[in-house]
């Protein structure tokens, strides 16, 4: 019943997408009177997508094991919210999620179009219809989430049929989702965040294609899609952050980023989207970089498809490759179509495009943005080549080569320092032609602060170059921006005879977008410090302990009190109770543990973390048996700076959105 409803939803979504493509294209080619005719297909697409997702969630909640997806990825004992999250934990469901989010962004694009119905917007909706057609097409072919189980196994479905009317044979229960996915609440949130980011990048892509296809040059497509770009970028930032956080809390290796191919797949669109957010400003302000902006937006969207391909095709060994299916070649084909189609169109239109005005001076805001774009593009190139190189070698010669963290780190660290430097200097340089001596004067105090912070760090924290350098550079970024803010407020106060503190708010409100960007920069600086501290200053050791034993580690005493065993609905948990004391005072009691799901005997180890401002104490249970335990103890100094910084980065994106909204409302009321 729910399966039939879901199938109907998918068919409706597909029909809506095709219809939207057709109507959108017709409207773009021959403008109708008032943009009529796009609402109905769009509504059909949205209703279809939501129905499909609701049917899938409903089937999971109702334990409807007659559906193959439920039978193979769900179990009666899967607790809330993981039973709902299972709806996007496996391949087919994640494609449905993609469809729902795409329909949502298409809806938002349509609302914007209704306010301002024009050919550009109609064309963009047509492009989103094409993307929708592809994804809903996946759902009725290679990634059908509502296949009916026709041969039930003991706790899974062995054979399934795509036809909803065949007689179902449901197993009594299923294996449940991948244990790693039901171990932490973050896993329920991280994928939707990431998808909100990925799919959101389809909006600027759609506008760019529409603008090119209609031979509309200018910045219309940038202005119209900037909101979506910022939304997508903020979600992508948040998604990446949550992924790192999840890895840290769940994967028990004390790290948050492994340069795993799938992590890289989410980082690359973020890097390119970040470059695009900056370079699109150059085009909107100065008219330059037209072609480059198209290149960035096409690359960003293509990278999201590549990311989906890497995650979902099972091509690479990674903690993320949970699924293997025939969807790989199809996604690869779509990637090729996207690349050839978009770049081909760009090449076709290039002769008609106005030339970008050249730079007046390299020492200018646009010059800094260009440099930032260059560094971000190179960083993306490093990540891309490092990720794909082993794949290509293995595909061609069968050899296995490894490109891992040491390579990425060595490449990324110098580039990251370049970015930090640009972040400090760039925002202070004027558009057009900057005045180096004036910028130097503005930066002098920030430079002093950076040097002082570096010296202080050298004496109090560590003399490791990574630590001293990161603290110095981060202070430079934050101090330059703060100094700029306070100086501006001071000047304003002098001019109006007001108080400087009161003027700070006014200065911020005068250019909310700029200051939101500065907030994101400060977030990146914090992340840099967090990375440097946690990776350079971490301590770790391993201890074999029996109940009653105690060891000293990093200023703590760790007492192994006793083992414990708990039965939970979906798993059996074995662990050790560790009392943590410092100077004789009990600090906390930690329970590093291993969870055993279903018949699985290997177990998923879950670390226990004690967080303080100085850093985390991170305990992992390496083994537990009748004699005792092997405990790995680690410290992660300053790791909270990464979480705080990541949130700050995303917050900058969100604030700049609300700033744009206020600005628009302001303009509209001014017009009245």
């Amino acid at each position: 019943m729910l399966g039939l409803l879901g199938d109907l939803g998918i068919v409706a979504g597909l029909a809506g997408s095709v219809w939207l493509t057709w109507r959108g294209w017709r409207t773009a080619a021959r403008p109708l009177e008032e943009g009529a005719g796009l609402g109905s297909p769009l509504k059909l697409m949205v209703v279809g997508a939501v129905t499909a997702m609701a049917a899938l969630v409903g089937a999971l909640l109702a334990n409807d094991f007659s559906l193959e997806y439920v039978a193979n990825h769900h179990s009666r004992s899967t607790p809330f919210p993981f039973n709902v999250a299972t709806a996007w934990a496996a391949l087919e469901g994640s494609i449905v999620l993609w469809g729902v989010i795409l329909a949502g962004y298409a809806g938002a694009t349509y609302l914007a179009y209704r306010r301002n119905p024009d050919r550009l917007g109609a064309g963009a909706l047509a492009v989103m219809g094409i993307i929708g057609t592809f994804f809903f097409g996946l759902m009725i072919t290679v990634a059908d989430p509502f296949r009916v189980c026709i041969e039930a196994g003991a706790a899974s479905c062995l054979n399934a049929s795509p036809w909803p009317w065949v007689a179902a044979s449901a197993p009594a229960n299923g294996p449940g989702p991948n244990p790693l996915l039901q171990n932490h609440i973050l896993m329920a949130i991280h994928p939707p965040m990431l998808y909100l980011g990925y799919v959101g990048l389809s909006v600027p892509f759609a506008y760019a294609i529409s603008g090119l296809a209609l031979s509309q040059s200018g910045t219309g497509w940038l202005e119209r899609s900037r909101r979506s770009t910022l939304v997508a970028w903020s979600f992508l930032s948040l998604g990446i952050l949550l992924g790192g956080w999840w890895a840290y809390e769940v994967l028990s290796w004390g790290g948050y980023w492994a340069w795993d191919p799938v992590e890289n797949a989410s980082l690359m669109p973020w890097l390119i989207a970040t470059a695009f957010i900056h370079s699109s400003l150059v085009q909107m302000r100065r008219g330059s970089l037209q072609t480059w902006n198209y290149v960035l937006v096409f690359t960003a969207f293509a990278l999201t498809i590549l990311g989906t391909f890497l995650t979902r095709s099972g091509t690479i060994a990674s903690v993320h490759s949970f699924t293997q299916s025939a969807i790989g070649p199809v996604l690869l084909g779509f990637l090729l179509v996207v690349l050839l189609g978009s770049f081909g169109l760009l090449a076709l239109r290039a002769p008609q495009m106005e030339t970008s005005p050249r730079l007046e001076s390299l020492f200018s805001r646009e010059g800094a943005f260009l440099a930032n774009n260059l560094v971000l593009a190179i960083l993306t190139f490093v990540v891309l080549s490092g990720t794909l190189y082993p794949l290509v070698v293995e595909a061609i010669s069968g050899d296995q080569v490894g490109v891992g963290p040491p390579f990425f780190q060595r490449m990324a660290i110098p580039l990251a320092f370049m970015l930090l430097g640009l972040m400090a200097i760039g925002p202070l340089v004027a558009w057009g032609k900057g005045d180096p001596s004036q910028v130097g004067r503005k930066l002098h105090r920030a430079l002093q602060a950076a040097l002082a912070a570096a010296v202080l760090a050298m004496f109090t924290i560590s003399r490791l170059p990574a630590v001293v350098g990161a603290i110095g550079a981060a202070t430079f970024v934050i101090a330059a921006s703060l100094d700029n803010l306070l100086t501006s407020a001071g000047k304003a106060a002098k001019a109006r005879d007001g108080r400087a503190t009161a003027e700070v708010g006014r200065v911020l409100a005068a250019r909310p977008g700029y200051w939101a960007g500065q907030l994101s920069h400060a977030g990146v600086a914090l992340v840099a410090v967090g990375i440097a501290l946690s990776s350079s200053l971490a301590l770790h050791s391993e201890h074999r302990m029996s109940p009653g034993d105690a060891v000293s580690f990093a200023g703590y005493e760790l007492h192994y009190v006793s083992p414990f065993l708990r039965s939970e609905p979906n798993r059996r948990v074995e662990g050790a109770t560790i009392e943590v004391t410092r100077d004789g005072q009990t600090v906390t009691v930690l329970e590093p543990r291993a969870g055993f799901y279903g018949e699985d005997t290997t177990g998923i180890t879950t670390p226990a973390v004690h967080s303080t401002l100085a850093g985390d104490l991170y305990l992992t249970l390496l083994s537990i048996d009748s004699i005792g335990i092997v405990l790995r103890a680690e410290t992660s100094p300053g790791i909270w700076l990464i979480w705080l910084g990541g949130l700050t980065v995303a917050a900058g994106g969100v604030i700049s959105l609300s700033a744009r909204r206020r600005a628009r409302i302001g303009r509209e009321t001014a017009l009245v």
């Binding site: 290796w253 004390g254 492994a258 191919p261 100065r286 290149v295 690479i316 490759s321 770049f343 760009l346 090449a347 290039a350 002769p351 495009m353 106005e354 030339t355 970008s356 050249r358 730079l359 007046e360 001076s361 390299l362 260009l370 190139f381 080549s385 490092g386 190189y389 290509v392 070698v393 595909a395 061609i396 010669s397 050899d399 296995q400 080569v401 490894g402 490109v403 891992g404 963290p405 040491p406 390579f407 060595r410 490449m411 002098h444 430079l447 002093q448 040097l451 002082a452 010296v455 050298m458 003399r463 490791l464 170059p465 990574a466 001293v468 350079s536 200053l537 992992t620 390496l622 083994s623």
Partner: protein, 339 residues
């Protein structure tokens, strides 16, 4: 005049801080002084998914880290340790591609791209210096090739990237020893590795090109322990994987002995030995085993004596082996029944 002094003082402060920082950083350690972790981070754990052995909490990764400690104690260099361990454990590739050989471009291309990009950006400025005064932004007529130049540049970069990757991939095929020739040839001491560990590595890397030699090493170890039941499936797996003659002969001869010694199947054993000798004619180990089977199983001392003599006719035999075969030959010629 009045604001000169504060500025001078301010610069003095900056200079002092800079000098302090420079002096303080002289002789600072370059990185955290944990050599074992550094090395471990360069080796992929063969049974985990993409983690290094320093990061993974799995038992195998910890065994391998213990091996790193041992090799460090033996005074090997970092590169030697990485090479030794990656050679011993199939599936444990090094995670930092060397700045030489086929992976050199992985390092150099980004640097070259940075230079090329910087050059392109500086060109954007120079063009304007030639075309002074700057054209007003919106309504400038287009020199037709400038946009194309960007696209062509992007296209060329993409093609170069693809070309280099393809080239490197083929280049690697001709050079399958991973650029570690010399070190990889060094005898790898598998004795440190437990049977369970080998089983884990094998089952996690079934398709790995070097997994057959580990299978054989493990099977030989079971064979010597007399655990024919565990050895059998590994020899069988080697044979089904279309091995090289050298590997095939080892698997076939051992299998022959297993079916004879374990199940008393003389004919099957004999046919396996014949297959082995087809792969490598005059393989001394196979000839010897075949002789033993002729002597003890087929009751054909004449053939046994013939086979033993063929073994002894070969040069380069281990003296101990020569002695043993000579003893057996004497025994079979003097009509003694097989021991």
């Amino acid at each position: 005049m009045s604001d000169r002094w504060p500025r001078l003082l301010s610069w003095l402060l900056t200079a002092t801080l800079a000098v302090l920082l420079a002096v303080g950083m002289v002789g600072a350690p370059a990185g955290p002084a944990d050599r074992a972790t550094d090395i471990g981070e360069k080796i992929r754990c063969p049974v985990c998914q993409g983690e290094s052995i320093a990061a993974s909490p799995s038992q195998l990764a910890r065994d391998m880290m213990a091996m790193v400690d041992d090799l460090m104690a033996q005074g090997l260099s970092d590169d030697e340790i990485v090479a030794t361990i990656t050679a011993a454990y199939p599936g444990s590739e090094r995670l930092d591609p060397p700045l030489s050989g086929p992976t050199m471009w992985l390092w150099l291309l980004p640097a070259l791209a940075l230079l090329a990009g910087g050059w392109a950006i500086s060109r954007m400025r120079r063009d304007i210096a030639v075309n002074e005064p700057p054209p007003p932004p919106e309504d400038s007529p287009a020199p037709p090739n400038s946009n194309r130049r960007v696209i062509a540049g992007a296209g060329v970069l993409g093609l170069v990237f693809i070309g280099v990757v393809v080239f490197l991939a083929f280049n690697r095929q001709e050079n399958p020893d991973n650029g570690l020739s010399g070190i990889a040839d060094a005898p790898v001491d598998l004795s440190e590795i437990s049977n369970e560990t080998m089983e884990a590595v094998i089952s996690a890397n079934l398709d790995h090109p070097q997994i057959l030699s580990m299978r054989l090493a493990l099977a030989d170890r079971y064979f010597e322990e007399g655990d024919y039941q565990s050895a059998f499936p590994h020899y069988e797996a080697v044979l089904t994987a279309e091995p090289s003659p050298q590997l095939a002969v080892r698997a076939l001869s051992h299998l022959g002995w297993i079916v004879f010694d374990g199940n008393g199947e003389v004919e099957l054993a004999d046919s396996l030995f014949d297959r082995a000798l087809e792969a490598v004619p005059d393989d001394p180990f196979t000839l010897y085993l075949k002789g033993r089977v002729s002597w003890c199983g087929a009751d054909d001392p004449a053939q046994a004596a013939d086979l033993f003599s063929r073994v002894l006719g070969q040069s380069g035999l281990d003296p101990e082996v020569r002695q043993r075969v000579t003893n057996d030959l004497t025994a079979v010629q003097s009509g003694v029944t097989c021991p």
